[in-house]
Symmetry: C2
Subunit: 326 residues, 2 copies
């Protein structure tokens, strides 16, 4: 939950007169997004989300992910579309902060994802990857392999206070991944954070992908690996191969994985697990005392990493090569 920047009705109405999205009828600060202040607006033209970007989002990155959402939406990917103001800009300033208005997507994220959800997210991810192929902007992934050691340097020395031996475990894995990270796999635009709370459904139908501030250019199959970790484990930490099969096969039908991508997937999934393990460790040691937000459990990703270390081939994910081969 964010520390909200309040916006006066008078100031917001004035800001919105710079857009062609109708008259403001109401707005509510919403309790989503940890790093930004978000408001749900009703106007005479419909519903919108207003985001005020707080300090952790670099203003330099806003054009990338706002333009990306517009690009994807124009190519039929259901995702929020930024409104342009009368100067043609996708963001401007409100209450001293960069601010953007996007259309509101109806839908709800599944608290208990089932096999059908996993198939739908696999298909949507592949279509997003295809739609992003001709996106002309470039943003390096600050949280890919080169970004992990700085996180380890921040949190590693205290890792053993979370679990005995965790520091060594993470350092060994980090060294292994740095030495073996693949350099020749297909790259493109990835979402990089497609957890269940970023995928909306109406009933069984996927209604949209949201929340693009981690989007960047990186290995496409790394995005698949992030989803395997985020969608295919049960609350008891067991791996659900039926869900993985549904996700990978649906992905492969829309964008077949090459043999190289398939072979690398277990390694990429180790990297994806380490990436979230590291950011959760850093967050775990940086919770302000008395904060209302409970930090996410780093140990969840220790367990996922241990599982991925045990995977040898895609058959361990329940997939025969036929499903997603190029």
């Amino acid at each position: 939950m964010a520390v909200y920047t309040d916006v006066a009705a008078e100031e917001l109405a004035e800001f919105l007169r710079g857009y062609d999205i109708g008259d403001l009828l109401s707005y509510k600060g919403i309790a989503e997004g940890v790093e930004n202040s978000n408001f749900l607006l009703h106007t005479s033209c419909g519903s919108f989300i207003l985001t005020l970007y707080e300090k952790r989002v670099a203003e330099d990155d806003l054009p990338y992910f706002l333009s990306l959402m517009a690009h994807l939406a124009e190519r039929g990917v259901s995702c929020p579309q930024p409104a342009r103001n009368r100067n043609g800009e996708v963001f401007s300033r409100l209450a001293g902060r960069p601010a953007a208005v996007i259309n509101f997507l109806e839908g709800m994220w599944p608290r208990r994802p089932n096999v059908g959800h996993c198939g739908a997210v696999g298909e949507a991810l592949a279509k997003m990857h295809l739609a992003g192929l001709d996106f002309p902007m470039f943003r390096q992934n600050p949280l890919s392999v080169a970004g992990w050691r700085p996180l380890f340097d921040l949190a590693g020395s205290r890792a053993d206070s979370v679990q005995a031996g965790l520091r060594d475990f993470v350092e060994r894995e980090l060294g292994y991944l740095e030495a073996n990270w693949p350099a020749d796999l297909p790259v493109g635009v990835i979402h990089a954070d497609l957890f269940p709370d970023n995928v909306f459904f109406l009933g069984d139908r996927l209604s949209g992908l949201i929340d693009f501030p981690f989007s960047c250019n990186d290995i496409l199959a790394y995005d698949v690996a992030i989803c395997l970790n985020a969608w295919c484990f049960e609350p008891d930490h067991s791996f659900n191969a039926t869900k993985a099969r549904a996700l990978l096969n649906a992905y492969g039908r829309a964008r077949p994985l090459s043999e190289g991508e398939q072979a690398a997937l277990p390694l990429l999934a180790r990297g994806a697990a380490l990436r979230f393990l590291l950011t959760r460790l850093v967050d775990f040691f940086n919770v302000p005392p008395g904060a209302l937000v409970k930090p996410k459990d780093p140990l969840e990703y220790v367990r996922k990493l241990r599982f991925q270390q045990s995977v040898k081939t895609l058959s361990d994910y329940g997939v025969t090569q036929a499903g997603c081969v190029a």
Copy 2:
């Protein structure tokens, strides 16, 4: 901002099947209401607010204020109306808590109330008082004169840490008000918390009154006094007699104040100031360390109380008797 109780989409959809308000399309936790968890719902029938009542709202009081909103709305007062479920109930349970669904009112509360807003709120308050006259239920006001000494006992001993001499100042005022509180003024249903953030406007038009958990039976003119304190002071703490005149005259045109009510108004305004001074003091000393919510400033109400102590008659509020006399 509340500590939110999260509700799973699946659980909420099931809960809403008990109502005839359409299919759930989306819901967002909203950052309003300190004591409850509130969600803005979109359904195929429109927008609604779902409230989960947390511990500080006594479940016994829910029927009073939910029934009151239904009663007022039926009599043309623009306020949220609770939906009844298929069993005819205005609340039931969700996520282990009492839960109610009310229709969503469009509108925004004025961050910088002007004279026009003050007139509109005076008129709406009088009409609410009239519409409540035949409301059959009764709820004692726990925060009227009899409720103030227990608050003083909680916070008084530490008052001097907020301002030197504050303890004695409050105790003297409390004794005076206990000895002189009027017993023979017209009573009825009051809102008891009609601050600017509980009154919505669309442009200059008042679109609704919200947030009734403090509503109760008490002296009607005490509600007017609460509004005088809440609406007619400027950010620099000066009293704006033009706003007070607009509020009182508009009230008086819809429900003329009797001579007794007019004469008592300055005393009632002292009481209204002391009531919010005391609850703010208690809250001030009970902020959890690191909480994101900044406590409201008790000294704002010390200043208002000092002003009200200086008022002798309604002419100090800028009002000639003609405007609101019975």
